[in-house]
Amino acid sequence: MTLETNQGNLGGAPSLFTEDATGLRSEEMILNMGPQHPSTHGVLRLVLTLDGETVMQCTPIMGYLHRGMEKTFENRPYMAGPRYIDNADYLSPMINEVCYAGAVEQIMGVEPPPRAQYIRVIVQELERIASHLVAVGTYGLDLGAFTPVLWAFRDREVILDLFESLSGHRFTHNYMRVGGVLYDLPKGWIQQCEDWATRFIDKNLPELEGLLTGNEIFVSRTRGVGYIDPQQALAYALTGPMSRASGVAFDVRVDRPYGAYREIAVRPQVQTGGDCFARYRVRMDEMKESVRLIREALDNLPSGPISARSPIALRPPRGETYFAVETGRGEESLYMISDGSEYPYRAKLRAPSFVNLAILPELLRGTKIGDVIAILGSIDIVLGDVDR
Protein backbone atom coordinates (compact mmCIF):
# COMPACT_ATOMS: atom_id res chain seq x y z
CA MET A 1 0.00 0.00 0.00
CA THR A 2 1.13 3.55 -0.51
CA LEU A 3 0.86 6.37 1.96
CA GLU A 4 1.24 10.02 1.22
CA THR A 5 2.91 12.13 3.84
CA ASN A 6 3.64 15.79 3.98
CA GLN A 7 7.36 15.43 4.54
CA GLY A 8 8.45 17.56 1.67
CA ASN A 9 11.95 16.21 1.43
CA LEU A 10 11.83 15.69 -2.33
CA GLY A 11 11.75 19.28 -3.31
CA GLY A 12 8.34 19.90 -1.80
CA ALA A 13 6.63 16.96 -3.46
CA PRO A 14 4.92 14.48 -1.15
CA SER A 15 7.19 11.54 -0.64
CA LEU A 16 6.01 8.09 -1.41
CA PHE A 17 6.10 5.34 1.18
CA THR A 18 5.43 1.73 0.51
CA GLU A 19 4.62 -0.73 3.20
CA ASP A 20 4.87 -4.46 2.93
CA ALA A 21 2.96 -7.12 4.88
CA THR A 22 5.36 -7.12 7.79
CA GLY A 23 4.95 -3.43 8.33
CA LEU A 24 8.38 -2.50 6.99
CA ARG A 25 8.22 0.80 5.22
CA SER A 26 10.45 1.85 2.36
CA GLU A 27 10.73 5.17 0.65
CA GLU A 28 11.51 5.98 -2.95
CA MET A 29 14.82 7.68 -3.33
CA ILE A 30 16.04 9.90 -6.11
CA LEU A 31 19.64 9.34 -7.01
CA ASN A 32 21.57 11.63 -9.30
CA MET A 33 24.16 9.72 -11.27
CA GLY A 34 26.44 12.08 -13.10
CA PRO A 35 27.10 14.36 -14.89
CA GLN A 36 30.53 13.81 -13.37
CA HIS A 37 30.66 10.07 -12.99
CA PRO A 38 33.39 7.87 -14.43
CA SER A 39 31.08 5.21 -15.81
CA THR A 40 28.86 7.60 -17.73
CA HIS A 41 31.82 7.96 -20.13
CA GLY A 42 31.37 11.69 -20.34
CA VAL A 43 28.86 14.19 -19.07
CA LEU A 44 25.59 12.31 -18.96
CA ARG A 45 23.28 12.72 -16.00
CA LEU A 46 20.87 9.98 -15.02
CA VAL A 47 18.18 10.78 -12.49
CA LEU A 48 17.29 7.41 -11.03
CA THR A 49 14.18 6.85 -8.95
CA LEU A 50 14.96 3.94 -6.67
CA ASP A 51 12.82 1.72 -4.53
CA GLY A 52 15.39 -0.02 -2.42
CA GLU A 53 17.82 -1.36 -4.97
CA THR A 54 15.32 -1.49 -7.81
CA VAL A 55 15.29 1.22 -10.44
CA MET A 56 11.72 2.43 -10.89
CA GLN A 57 12.42 5.16 -13.38
CA CYS A 58 15.37 6.67 -15.19
CA THR A 59 15.45 10.12 -16.72
CA PRO A 60 18.55 10.87 -18.76
CA ILE A 61 19.52 14.53 -18.89
CA MET A 62 21.97 15.49 -21.57
CA GLY A 63 23.20 18.50 -23.44
CA TYR A 64 26.19 19.34 -21.26
CA LEU A 65 28.43 18.88 -24.28
CA HIS A 66 26.15 20.54 -26.80
CA ARG A 67 28.24 22.72 -29.10
CA GLY A 68 25.69 23.61 -31.72
CA MET A 69 27.44 21.53 -34.34
CA GLU A 70 24.63 21.68 -36.88
CA LYS A 71 24.51 25.45 -36.59
CA THR A 72 28.27 25.55 -37.02
CA PHE A 73 27.97 23.65 -40.28
CA GLU A 74 25.59 26.28 -41.60
CA ASN A 75 28.17 28.98 -40.96
CA ARG A 76 31.23 27.24 -42.35
CA PRO A 77 32.13 26.48 -45.96
CA TYR A 78 31.94 22.90 -47.14
CA MET A 79 35.68 22.50 -47.01
CA ALA A 80 35.71 23.35 -43.30
CA GLY A 81 33.06 20.81 -42.42
CA PRO A 82 35.23 17.72 -41.84
CA ARG A 83 37.19 19.52 -39.18
CA TYR A 84 34.06 20.24 -37.16
CA ILE A 85 32.41 16.87 -37.59
CA ASP A 86 35.56 15.32 -36.14
CA ASN A 87 34.36 16.33 -32.71
CA ALA A 88 30.92 14.75 -32.96
CA ASP A 89 31.90 11.18 -32.20
CA TYR A 90 35.36 11.93 -30.91
CA LEU A 91 36.32 8.25 -30.75
CA SER A 92 35.87 7.77 -34.48
CA PRO A 93 36.68 11.06 -36.21
CA MET A 94 37.79 9.40 -39.45
CA ILE A 95 34.39 7.80 -39.97
CA ASN A 96 32.64 11.09 -39.22
CA GLU A 97 34.72 12.78 -41.87
CA VAL A 98 33.80 10.12 -44.41
CA CYS A 99 30.17 10.83 -43.57
CA TYR A 100 30.52 14.55 -44.25
CA ALA A 101 32.68 14.22 -47.33
CA GLY A 102 30.47 11.47 -48.71
CA ALA A 103 27.34 13.55 -48.28
CA VAL A 104 28.85 16.48 -50.17
CA GLU A 105 30.18 14.15 -52.86
CA GLN A 106 26.75 12.65 -53.27
CA ILE A 107 25.19 16.07 -53.77
CA MET A 108 27.88 17.04 -56.26
CA GLY A 109 27.75 13.72 -58.05
CA VAL A 110 31.50 13.15 -57.82
CA GLU A 111 33.36 10.08 -56.71
CA PRO A 112 36.80 9.92 -55.14
CA PRO A 113 39.43 7.97 -57.08
CA PRO A 114 39.73 4.26 -56.24
CA ARG A 115 42.90 4.68 -54.22
CA ALA A 116 41.24 7.29 -52.02
CA GLN A 117 38.27 4.99 -51.49
CA TYR A 118 40.52 2.14 -50.40
CA ILE A 119 42.49 4.41 -48.08
CA ARG A 120 39.19 5.48 -46.60
CA VAL A 121 38.22 1.89 -45.93
CA ILE A 122 41.56 1.19 -44.27
CA VAL A 123 41.39 4.17 -41.94
CA GLN A 124 37.72 3.58 -41.17
CA GLU A 125 38.37 0.01 -40.13
CA LEU A 126 41.38 1.08 -38.07
CA GLU A 127 39.17 3.67 -36.41
CA ARG A 128 36.49 1.09 -35.76
CA ILE A 129 39.02 -1.13 -34.01
CA ALA A 130 40.28 1.81 -31.93
CA SER A 131 36.73 2.72 -31.01
CA HIS A 132 35.79 -0.84 -30.05
CA LEU A 133 38.98 -1.17 -28.03
CA VAL A 134 37.92 1.81 -25.94
CA ALA A 135 34.42 0.40 -25.63
CA VAL A 136 35.57 -3.03 -24.48
CA GLY A 137 38.38 -1.75 -22.31
CA THR A 138 36.31 0.78 -20.42
CA TYR A 139 33.48 -1.68 -20.16
CA GLY A 140 35.80 -3.94 -18.24
CA LEU A 141 36.79 -0.97 -16.12
CA ASP A 142 33.14 -0.25 -15.36
CA LEU A 143 32.65 -3.80 -14.15
CA GLY A 144 35.72 -3.79 -11.96
CA ALA A 145 38.34 -5.30 -14.25
CA PHE A 146 41.25 -2.92 -14.44
CA THR A 147 43.68 -4.69 -16.74
CA PRO A 148 41.63 -4.84 -19.99
CA VAL A 149 41.65 -1.08 -20.46
CA LEU A 150 45.43 -0.99 -20.26
CA TRP A 151 45.79 -3.83 -22.74
CA ALA A 152 43.23 -2.28 -25.06
CA PHE A 153 44.95 1.08 -25.07
CA ARG A 154 48.22 -0.64 -25.90
CA ASP A 155 46.89 -1.39 -29.37
CA ARG A 156 44.96 1.82 -29.66
CA GLU A 157 48.19 3.77 -29.20
CA VAL A 158 49.65 2.07 -32.25
CA ILE A 159 46.56 2.94 -34.29
CA LEU A 160 46.76 6.55 -33.20
CA ASP A 161 50.45 6.60 -34.10
CA LEU A 162 49.56 5.30 -37.54
CA PHE A 163 46.99 8.08 -37.89
CA GLU A 164 49.52 10.62 -36.73
CA SER A 165 52.03 9.63 -39.36
CA LEU A 166 49.23 9.65 -41.93
CA SER A 167 47.42 12.89 -41.17
CA GLY A 168 49.53 14.73 -38.62
CA HIS A 169 47.03 14.41 -35.80
CA ARG A 170 46.19 11.68 -33.34
CA PHE A 171 42.65 12.97 -32.96
CA THR A 172 40.54 15.35 -35.05
CA HIS A 173 42.53 14.28 -38.06
CA ASN A 174 40.94 16.57 -40.66
CA TYR A 175 42.15 14.06 -43.21
CA MET A 176 39.19 13.61 -45.54
CA ARG A 177 38.51 16.06 -48.32
CA VAL A 178 35.53 16.30 -50.58
CA GLY A 179 36.67 14.19 -53.50
CA GLY A 180 39.41 12.24 -51.79
CA VAL A 181 41.88 12.31 -48.95
CA LEU A 182 44.51 14.85 -47.98
CA TYR A 183 47.77 12.86 -48.01
CA ASP A 184 48.89 9.65 -49.55
CA LEU A 185 50.16 6.85 -47.35
CA PRO A 186 53.68 7.71 -46.17
CA LYS A 187 56.66 5.49 -46.88
CA GLY A 188 56.65 2.33 -44.83
CA TRP A 189 53.13 2.91 -43.53
CA ILE A 190 51.69 -0.18 -45.15
CA GLN A 191 54.39 -2.37 -43.62
CA GLN A 192 53.78 -0.84 -40.17
CA CYS A 193 50.07 -1.39 -40.54
CA GLU A 194 50.49 -5.00 -41.59
CA ASP A 195 52.92 -5.68 -38.76
CA TRP A 196 50.50 -4.25 -36.27
CA ALA A 197 47.59 -6.22 -37.74
CA THR A 198 49.52 -9.47 -37.41
CA ARG A 199 50.54 -8.68 -33.85
CA PHE A 200 47.02 -7.63 -32.95
CA ILE A 201 45.16 -10.59 -34.36
CA ASP A 202 47.68 -13.23 -33.33
CA LYS A 203 48.69 -12.06 -29.88
CA ASN A 204 47.08 -8.97 -28.42
CA LEU A 205 43.43 -9.56 -29.20
CA PRO A 206 43.38 -13.16 -27.89
CA GLU A 207 45.08 -11.89 -24.74
CA LEU A 208 42.46 -9.20 -24.28
CA GLU A 209 39.67 -11.63 -25.02
CA GLY A 210 41.07 -14.13 -22.55
CA LEU A 211 40.77 -11.55 -19.81
CA LEU A 212 37.06 -11.00 -20.32
CA THR A 213 35.30 -13.68 -22.34
CA GLY A 214 36.04 -16.51 -19.93
CA ASN A 215 36.00 -14.32 -16.84
CA GLU A 216 33.40 -15.67 -14.45
CA ILE A 217 32.68 -12.30 -12.84
CA PHE A 218 32.41 -10.55 -16.17
CA VAL A 219 30.11 -13.19 -17.62
CA SER A 220 27.84 -13.32 -14.62
CA ARG A 221 27.45 -9.56 -14.63
CA THR A 222 26.67 -9.31 -18.34
CA ARG A 223 24.91 -12.51 -19.41
CA GLY A 224 21.13 -12.12 -19.30
CA VAL A 225 21.43 -8.45 -18.30
CA GLY A 226 19.83 -5.73 -20.37
CA TYR A 227 17.98 -7.96 -22.79
CA ILE A 228 16.69 -6.33 -25.97
CA ASP A 229 14.50 -8.39 -28.24
CA PRO A 230 14.64 -7.86 -32.02
CA GLN A 231 11.27 -6.12 -32.21
CA GLN A 232 12.36 -3.65 -29.58
CA ALA A 233 15.62 -3.01 -31.41
CA LEU A 234 13.73 -2.19 -34.59
CA ALA A 235 11.14 -0.04 -32.85
CA TYR A 236 13.82 2.05 -31.18
CA ALA A 237 15.80 2.21 -34.45
CA LEU A 238 18.88 0.78 -32.79
CA THR A 239 21.84 0.27 -35.07
CA GLY A 240 25.35 -1.05 -34.83
CA PRO A 241 26.34 -3.63 -32.21
CA MET A 242 23.20 -2.78 -30.25
CA SER A 243 20.91 -4.22 -32.90
CA ARG A 244 23.29 -6.85 -34.26
CA ALA A 245 23.55 -8.36 -30.79
CA SER A 246 19.78 -8.83 -30.88
CA GLY A 247 19.83 -10.71 -34.15
CA VAL A 248 18.96 -7.80 -36.44
CA ALA A 249 21.53 -8.13 -39.19
CA PHE A 250 21.62 -4.51 -40.28
CA ASP A 251 24.92 -2.98 -41.25
CA VAL A 252 25.14 0.07 -43.50
CA ARG A 253 28.34 -1.30 -45.02
CA VAL A 254 26.40 -4.37 -46.16
CA ASP A 255 22.93 -3.04 -46.91
CA ARG A 256 23.88 0.33 -48.39
CA PRO A 257 27.55 -0.05 -49.28
CA TYR A 258 29.42 3.16 -49.87
CA GLY A 259 32.87 3.82 -51.23
CA ALA A 260 35.08 0.77 -51.55
CA TYR A 261 32.71 -1.33 -49.46
CA ARG A 262 31.02 -2.02 -52.77
CA GLU A 263 34.09 -4.05 -53.70
CA ILE A 264 35.23 -5.35 -50.32
CA ALA A 265 32.48 -7.55 -48.95
CA VAL A 266 31.76 -7.17 -45.26
CA ARG A 267 30.45 -10.06 -43.20
CA PRO A 268 28.12 -8.59 -40.59
CA GLN A 269 28.75 -9.95 -37.11
CA VAL A 270 25.47 -11.01 -35.56
CA GLN A 271 24.67 -12.52 -32.20
CA THR A 272 21.27 -13.58 -30.98
CA GLY A 273 21.74 -13.25 -27.24
CA GLY A 274 20.40 -9.71 -27.02
CA ASP A 275 22.09 -9.11 -23.67
CA CYS A 276 25.15 -7.14 -22.63
CA PHE A 277 27.41 -10.14 -23.21
CA ALA A 278 26.18 -10.49 -26.79
CA ARG A 279 26.94 -6.83 -27.45
CA TYR A 280 30.42 -7.35 -26.09
CA ARG A 281 30.84 -10.40 -28.32
CA VAL A 282 29.72 -8.45 -31.40
CA ARG A 283 32.38 -5.84 -30.73
CA MET A 284 35.09 -8.44 -30.33
CA ASP A 285 34.04 -10.20 -33.53
CA GLU A 286 33.89 -6.94 -35.43
CA MET A 287 37.48 -6.20 -34.53
CA LYS A 288 38.55 -9.49 -36.12
CA GLU A 289 36.42 -8.73 -39.17
CA SER A 290 37.96 -5.26 -39.40
CA VAL A 291 41.45 -6.70 -39.45
CA ARG A 292 40.40 -8.97 -42.32
CA LEU A 293 39.02 -5.95 -44.19
CA ILE A 294 42.18 -3.94 -43.61
CA ARG A 295 44.32 -6.76 -44.96
CA GLU A 296 42.08 -7.18 -47.97
CA ALA A 297 42.13 -3.46 -48.70
CA LEU A 298 45.90 -3.28 -48.31
CA ASP A 299 46.36 -6.23 -50.65
CA ASN A 300 44.12 -4.73 -53.32
CA LEU A 301 45.19 -1.12 -52.85
CA PRO A 302 45.03 0.50 -56.30
CA SER A 303 47.53 3.05 -57.47
CA GLY A 304 46.69 6.43 -58.90
CA PRO A 305 45.60 9.81 -57.59
CA ILE A 306 44.31 10.22 -54.07
CA SER A 307 41.93 13.06 -54.70
CA ALA A 308 39.63 14.28 -57.40
CA ARG A 309 40.21 17.78 -58.63
CA SER A 310 37.80 19.97 -56.77
CA PRO A 311 37.80 23.72 -56.25
CA ILE A 312 38.67 25.26 -52.89
CA ALA A 313 35.40 27.18 -52.80
CA LEU A 314 32.98 24.33 -53.25
CA ARG A 315 29.57 25.27 -54.55
CA PRO A 316 27.57 22.06 -54.82
CA PRO A 317 24.45 22.27 -56.96
CA ARG A 318 21.07 22.71 -55.32
CA GLY A 319 19.87 19.47 -53.89
CA GLU A 320 19.56 17.30 -50.87
CA THR A 321 21.01 14.03 -49.74
CA TYR A 322 20.86 11.50 -46.98
CA PHE A 323 24.19 9.78 -46.62
CA ALA A 324 24.78 7.06 -44.06
CA VAL A 325 27.96 5.39 -42.85
CA GLU A 326 28.54 2.72 -40.24
CA THR A 327 30.55 3.85 -37.24
CA GLY A 328 31.51 1.70 -34.31
CA ARG A 329 28.20 2.63 -32.73
CA GLY A 330 25.79 2.31 -35.59
CA GLU A 331 24.41 4.25 -38.47
CA GLU A 332 25.67 7.79 -38.61
CA SER A 333 24.08 9.81 -41.34
CA LEU A 334 24.00 13.32 -42.56
CA TYR A 335 20.94 14.87 -44.13
CA MET A 336 22.30 17.80 -46.05
CA ILE A 337 20.64 20.48 -48.12
CA SER A 338 22.62 22.61 -50.53
CA ASP A 339 21.18 25.84 -51.89
CA GLY A 340 24.01 26.36 -54.36
CA SER A 341 26.12 28.58 -52.12
CA GLU A 342 29.38 27.90 -50.35
CA TYR A 343 27.63 27.00 -47.11
CA PRO A 344 25.28 24.11 -46.40
CA TYR A 345 21.72 25.29 -46.01
CA ARG A 346 21.04 22.63 -43.41
CA ALA A 347 23.05 19.69 -42.16
CA LYS A 348 21.35 17.32 -39.76
CA LEU A 349 23.58 14.78 -38.12
CA ARG A 350 21.88 11.57 -37.13
CA ALA A 351 24.04 10.44 -34.25
CA PRO A 352 23.99 6.72 -33.43
CA SER A 353 24.75 7.26 -29.75
CA PHE A 354 21.79 9.60 -29.38
CA VAL A 355 19.32 7.17 -30.91
CA ASN A 356 20.77 4.16 -29.11
CA LEU A 357 20.62 5.93 -25.76
CA ALA A 358 16.88 6.48 -26.07
CA ILE A 359 16.21 2.88 -25.10
CA LEU A 360 18.02 3.27 -21.77
CA PRO A 361 14.96 4.28 -19.64
CA GLU A 362 13.12 1.29 -21.04
CA LEU A 363 16.03 -1.05 -20.30
CA LEU A 364 16.66 0.18 -16.78
CA ARG A 365 13.08 0.02 -15.54
CA GLY A 366 12.86 -2.72 -12.95
CA THR A 367 16.54 -3.67 -12.91
CA LYS A 368 18.78 -3.59 -9.88
CA ILE A 369 21.00 -0.59 -9.41
CA GLY A 370 24.13 -2.71 -9.80
CA ASP A 371 23.13 -3.46 -13.38
CA VAL A 372 22.78 0.20 -14.34
CA ILE A 373 26.49 0.50 -15.01
CA ALA A 374 26.61 -2.76 -16.93
CA ILE A 375 23.71 -1.77 -19.18
CA LEU A 376 24.88 1.78 -19.75
CA GLY A 377 28.39 0.62 -20.57
CA SER A 378 27.13 -1.93 -23.07
CA ILE A 379 25.33 0.77 -25.07
CA ASP A 380 28.75 2.36 -25.64
CA ILE A 381 27.74 5.97 -25.99
CA VAL A 382 30.02 8.89 -26.77
CA LEU A 383 28.65 12.05 -25.26
CA GLY A 384 30.10 14.18 -27.99
CA ASP A 385 27.91 12.19 -30.33
CA VAL A 386 24.84 12.38 -28.11
CA ASP A 387 24.98 16.13 -27.57
CA ARG A 388 26.71 17.25 -30.77
Partner: protein
Protein backbone atom coordinates in the same frame (compact mmCIF):
# COMPACT_ATOMS: atom_id res chain seq x y z
CA UNK B 1 13.85 29.23 -50.66
CA UNK B 2 12.47 26.11 -52.15
CA UNK B 3 14.37 23.24 -53.58
CA UNK B 4 13.81 22.31 -57.15
CA UNK B 5 13.78 18.52 -57.18
CA UNK B 6 16.50 17.41 -59.52
CA UNK B 7 16.28 14.51 -61.85
CA UNK B 8 17.10 11.35 -59.94
CA UNK B 9 19.59 10.01 -62.44
CA UNK B 10 21.97 12.92 -62.13
CA UNK B 11 21.93 13.12 -58.36
CA UNK B 12 24.20 10.25 -57.63
CA UNK B 13 26.60 7.88 -59.17
CA UNK B 14 25.70 5.37 -56.48
CA UNK B 15 23.07 3.96 -58.77
CA UNK B 16 21.07 1.45 -56.85
CA UNK B 17 19.39 -1.46 -58.52
CA UNK B 18 16.71 0.00 -60.75
CA UNK B 19 14.25 -2.85 -60.28
CA UNK B 20 14.68 -2.61 -56.57
CA UNK B 21 13.64 1.05 -56.58
CA UNK B 22 10.79 0.39 -58.99
CA UNK B 23 9.38 -2.19 -56.60
CA UNK B 24 9.19 0.51 -53.96
CA UNK B 25 7.48 2.87 -56.41
CA UNK B 26 4.91 0.19 -57.09
CA UNK B 27 4.40 -0.48 -53.41
CA UNK B 28 3.90 3.21 -52.71
CA UNK B 29 0.57 3.03 -54.56
CA UNK B 30 -0.90 2.16 -51.18
CA UNK B 31 0.22 5.52 -49.87
CA UNK B 32 -1.40 7.24 -52.84
CA UNK B 33 -4.66 5.49 -51.98
CA UNK B 34 -4.58 6.91 -48.45
CA UNK B 35 -3.66 10.40 -49.48
CA UNK B 36 -6.33 10.32 -52.19
CA UNK B 37 -4.11 11.59 -54.97
CA UNK B 38 -0.75 10.61 -56.44
CA UNK B 39 1.97 11.92 -54.13
CA UNK B 40 5.03 13.47 -55.76
CA UNK B 41 7.88 10.96 -55.72
CA UNK B 42 11.54 11.59 -56.42
CA UNK B 43 14.57 9.39 -56.59
CA UNK B 44 17.30 10.46 -54.25
CA UNK B 45 21.02 9.87 -54.15
CA UNK B 46 22.14 6.60 -52.63
CA UNK B 47 19.07 4.68 -53.70
CA UNK B 48 16.50 6.45 -51.58
CA UNK B 49 13.02 7.50 -52.58
CA UNK B 50 11.34 10.70 -51.46
CA UNK B 51 7.60 11.26 -51.18
CA UNK B 52 5.52 14.19 -50.05
CA UNK B 53 2.79 13.64 -47.51
CA UNK B 54 0.14 16.12 -46.40
CA UNK B 55 0.48 16.91 -42.71
CA UNK B 56 -2.98 15.70 -41.74
CA UNK B 57 -2.36 12.27 -43.30
CA UNK B 58 1.05 11.61 -41.81
CA UNK B 59 0.00 9.19 -39.07
CA UNK B 60 -2.12 7.13 -41.43
CA UNK B 61 0.67 7.01 -43.98
CA UNK B 62 3.20 6.03 -41.34
CA UNK B 63 0.94 3.26 -40.11
CA UNK B 64 0.65 1.90 -43.62
CA UNK B 65 4.39 2.17 -44.11
CA UNK B 66 5.04 0.22 -40.94
CA UNK B 67 2.34 -2.43 -41.09
CA UNK B 68 1.84 -2.99 -44.78
CA UNK B 69 5.07 -1.99 -46.53
CA UNK B 70 7.44 -3.23 -43.83
CA UNK B 71 9.25 -0.04 -42.87
CA UNK B 72 10.23 -1.15 -39.37
CA UNK B 73 12.58 1.67 -38.49
CA UNK B 74 12.08 5.39 -38.19
CA UNK B 75 15.70 6.34 -38.51
CA UNK B 76 15.81 10.09 -38.53
CA UNK B 77 13.54 13.10 -38.06
CA UNK B 78 14.67 16.43 -39.46
CA UNK B 79 12.98 19.80 -39.50
CA UNK B 80 14.23 22.46 -41.86
CA UNK B 81 13.35 26.14 -41.75
CA UNK B 82 12.71 27.45 -45.26
CA UNK B 83 11.73 30.91 -43.94
CA UNK B 84 8.33 30.92 -45.64
CA UNK B 85 7.52 27.42 -44.47
CA UNK B 86 8.99 24.63 -42.39
CA UNK B 87 9.61 21.15 -43.66
CA UNK B 88 9.60 18.07 -41.53
CA UNK B 89 11.41 15.05 -42.97
CA UNK B 90 11.12 11.48 -41.81
CA UNK B 91 13.53 8.80 -42.93
CA UNK B 92 12.19 5.27 -42.80
CA UNK B 93 14.16 2.08 -43.32
CA UNK B 94 12.91 -1.30 -44.31
CA UNK B 95 15.44 -3.97 -43.47
CA UNK B 96 13.60 -6.84 -45.10
CA UNK B 97 13.37 -5.08 -48.47
CA UNK B 98 16.40 -2.81 -47.95
CA UNK B 99 14.46 0.33 -48.79
CA UNK B 100 15.12 3.86 -47.68
CA UNK B 101 12.19 6.25 -47.79
CA UNK B 102 12.08 9.95 -47.08
CA UNK B 103 8.68 11.42 -46.28
CA UNK B 104 8.46 15.18 -46.56
CA UNK B 105 5.76 17.17 -44.80
CA UNK B 106 5.17 20.86 -45.35
CA UNK B 107 4.21 22.95 -42.32
CA UNK B 108 3.35 26.59 -41.97
CA UNK B 109 6.05 28.87 -40.60
CA UNK B 110 3.74 30.63 -38.16
CA UNK B 111 2.29 27.51 -36.57
CA UNK B 112 4.50 24.49 -37.20
CA UNK B 113 2.37 21.71 -35.76
CA UNK B 114 2.27 18.07 -36.71
CA UNK B 115 1.03 14.84 -35.18
CA UNK B 116 3.60 12.87 -33.28
CA UNK B 117 4.66 9.41 -34.43
CA UNK B 118 5.62 8.16 -30.97
CA UNK B 119 2.63 5.83 -30.88
CA UNK B 120 3.90 4.01 -33.96
CA UNK B 121 7.64 4.31 -33.60
CA UNK B 122 9.13 4.64 -30.09
CA UNK B 123 12.34 6.00 -31.61
CA UNK B 124 10.40 9.13 -32.54
CA UNK B 125 10.36 10.13 -28.89
CA UNK B 126 13.81 11.65 -28.66
CA UNK B 127 14.14 12.42 -32.36
CA UNK B 128 11.04 14.63 -32.24
CA UNK B 129 12.07 16.19 -28.97
CA UNK B 130 15.35 17.21 -30.56
CA UNK B 131 13.61 18.88 -33.48
CA UNK B 132 11.24 20.67 -31.11
CA UNK B 133 14.30 21.85 -29.24
CA UNK B 134 16.20 23.02 -32.32
CA UNK B 135 13.54 24.19 -34.76
CA UNK B 136 10.45 24.62 -32.65
CA UNK B 137 8.12 22.20 -34.39
CA UNK B 138 5.24 21.25 -32.08
CA UNK B 139 4.57 17.52 -32.19
CA UNK B 140 0.99 17.10 -31.08
CA UNK B 141 0.39 14.11 -28.88
CA UNK B 142 4.01 13.71 -27.86
CA UNK B 143 4.11 12.43 -24.27
CA UNK B 144 7.12 14.41 -23.12
CA UNK B 145 7.73 17.40 -25.35
CA UNK B 146 10.54 19.15 -23.50
CA UNK B 147 13.86 20.57 -24.56
CA UNK B 148 16.44 17.82 -24.69
CA UNK B 149 19.83 19.28 -25.55
CA UNK B 150 19.44 22.92 -24.56
CA UNK B 151 18.56 24.49 -21.23
CA UNK B 152 14.93 24.42 -20.19
CA UNK B 153 14.87 28.22 -20.03
CA UNK B 154 16.57 28.76 -23.37
CA UNK B 155 14.79 31.27 -25.56
CA UNK B 156 14.42 30.76 -29.28
CA UNK B 157 15.15 27.89 -31.62
CA UNK B 158 18.74 27.73 -32.83
CA UNK B 159 18.19 26.05 -36.18
CA UNK B 160 15.78 28.72 -37.36
CA UNK B 161 17.31 30.96 -39.98
CA UNK B 162 16.65 34.14 -38.02
CA UNK B 163 18.35 32.92 -34.86
CA UNK B 164 21.28 35.00 -33.69
CA UNK B 165 24.02 32.85 -32.27
CA UNK B 166 24.43 34.82 -29.06
CA UNK B 167 23.82 33.36 -25.62
CA UNK B 168 20.42 34.40 -24.36
CA UNK B 169 18.76 32.83 -21.37
CA UNK B 170 16.06 33.93 -18.99
CA UNK B 171 18.34 33.77 -16.00
CA UNK B 172 20.02 36.80 -14.51
CA UNK B 173 23.47 37.25 -15.82
CA UNK B 174 26.18 35.91 -13.59
CA UNK B 175 28.86 38.47 -12.78
CA UNK B 176 31.42 36.76 -14.91
CA UNK B 177 29.18 36.20 -17.90
CA UNK B 178 29.70 38.34 -20.95
CA UNK B 179 26.69 40.12 -22.33
CA UNK B 180 25.93 38.42 -25.62
CA UNK B 181 25.07 41.61 -27.47
CA UNK B 182 28.35 43.21 -26.48
CA UNK B 183 30.39 40.10 -27.10
CA UNK B 184 29.71 40.13 -30.82
CA UNK B 185 30.10 43.89 -31.21
CA UNK B 186 33.61 43.87 -29.80
CA UNK B 187 32.67 46.39 -27.14
CA UNK B 188 33.40 43.95 -24.40
CA UNK B 189 37.10 43.78 -25.08
CA UNK B 190 37.43 47.55 -24.84
CA UNK B 191 35.48 47.82 -21.63
CA UNK B 192 36.94 44.98 -19.71
CA UNK B 193 40.19 46.51 -18.54
CA UNK B 194 38.86 49.97 -17.83
CA UNK B 195 39.56 51.37 -14.37
CA UNK B 196 37.01 53.65 -12.77
CA UNK B 197 37.29 55.38 -9.37
CA UNK B 198 35.44 53.72 -6.59
CA UNK B 199 34.56 55.46 -3.38
CA UNK B 200 34.21 53.99 0.05
CA UNK B 201 30.98 52.08 0.40
CA UNK B 202 30.07 52.38 -3.25
CA UNK B 203 30.76 48.78 -4.13
CA UNK B 204 28.87 47.10 -6.88
CA UNK B 205 26.24 44.87 -5.34
CA UNK B 206 27.21 41.98 -7.55
CA UNK B 207 30.76 41.98 -6.38
CA UNK B 208 30.19 41.47 -2.73
CA UNK B 209 30.68 37.89 -1.75
CA UNK B 210 29.98 37.51 1.98
CA UNK B 211 32.99 36.16 3.77
CA UNK B 212 35.05 35.99 0.64
CA UNK B 213 36.49 39.33 -0.47
CA UNK B 214 37.79 38.19 -3.81
CA UNK B 215 38.27 41.58 -5.41
CA UNK B 216 40.53 43.14 -2.77
CA UNK B 217 38.61 46.36 -2.56
CA UNK B 218 38.62 48.02 0.84
CA UNK B 219 35.08 49.16 0.24
CA UNK B 220 33.93 45.59 0.41
CA UNK B 221 35.63 45.17 3.75
CA UNK B 222 33.93 48.22 5.14
CA UNK B 223 30.48 47.42 3.87
CA UNK B 224 30.29 43.83 4.89
CA UNK B 225 32.51 44.03 7.93
CA UNK B 226 34.17 40.83 6.93
CA UNK B 227 37.77 40.06 6.31
CA UNK B 228 40.74 41.67 7.95
CA UNK B 229 41.82 45.23 7.31
CA UNK B 230 45.21 46.26 8.73
CA UNK B 231 45.11 49.42 10.78
CA UNK B 232 47.73 51.25 8.75
CA UNK B 233 45.61 50.89 5.62
CA UNK B 234 42.84 53.04 7.04
CA UNK B 235 44.16 56.20 5.47
CA UNK B 236 44.39 54.61 2.04
CA UNK B 237 40.81 53.56 1.75
CA UNK B 238 39.63 56.62 -0.08
CA UNK B 239 42.22 56.15 -2.79
CA UNK B 240 41.38 52.48 -3.35
CA UNK B 241 40.34 51.75 -6.90
CA UNK B 242 38.44 48.87 -8.42
CA UNK B 243 37.89 47.43 -11.81
CA UNK B 244 34.43 47.87 -13.12
CA UNK B 245 32.61 47.29 -16.34
CA UNK B 246 30.31 50.27 -16.35
CA UNK B 247 28.65 51.63 -19.42
CA UNK B 248 27.07 54.59 -17.63
CA UNK B 249 30.35 56.01 -16.43
CA UNK B 250 32.53 55.99 -19.51
CA UNK B 251 35.26 58.34 -18.30
CA UNK B 252 38.38 56.26 -17.75
CA UNK B 253 40.76 57.51 -15.11
CA UNK B 254 44.17 56.35 -14.20
CA UNK B 255 45.12 54.01 -11.42
CA UNK B 256 46.17 55.96 -8.29
Amino acid sequence: MDLAPRDGESVSLLAFDRDHINQLFTALAEVDAIVGQPTPKIRMGGGGVGIEVPAERLVEVARTLRDSLGFEMLTCVTAVDFVDHIQCLYHFRSLASNWLLQARVRLSAEQPEIDSLVGLYPSANWLEREQYDMVGVIFKGHPDLRRILLDDDFQGYPMRRDFRATPVTLRDRATTQVDGERAISGEQQRDQERIVPKHVGQGNEERIHPGKPTFGSAAVYLETGQGLLPGDMQGEIETEHGYEVDKDDPAPTSRS
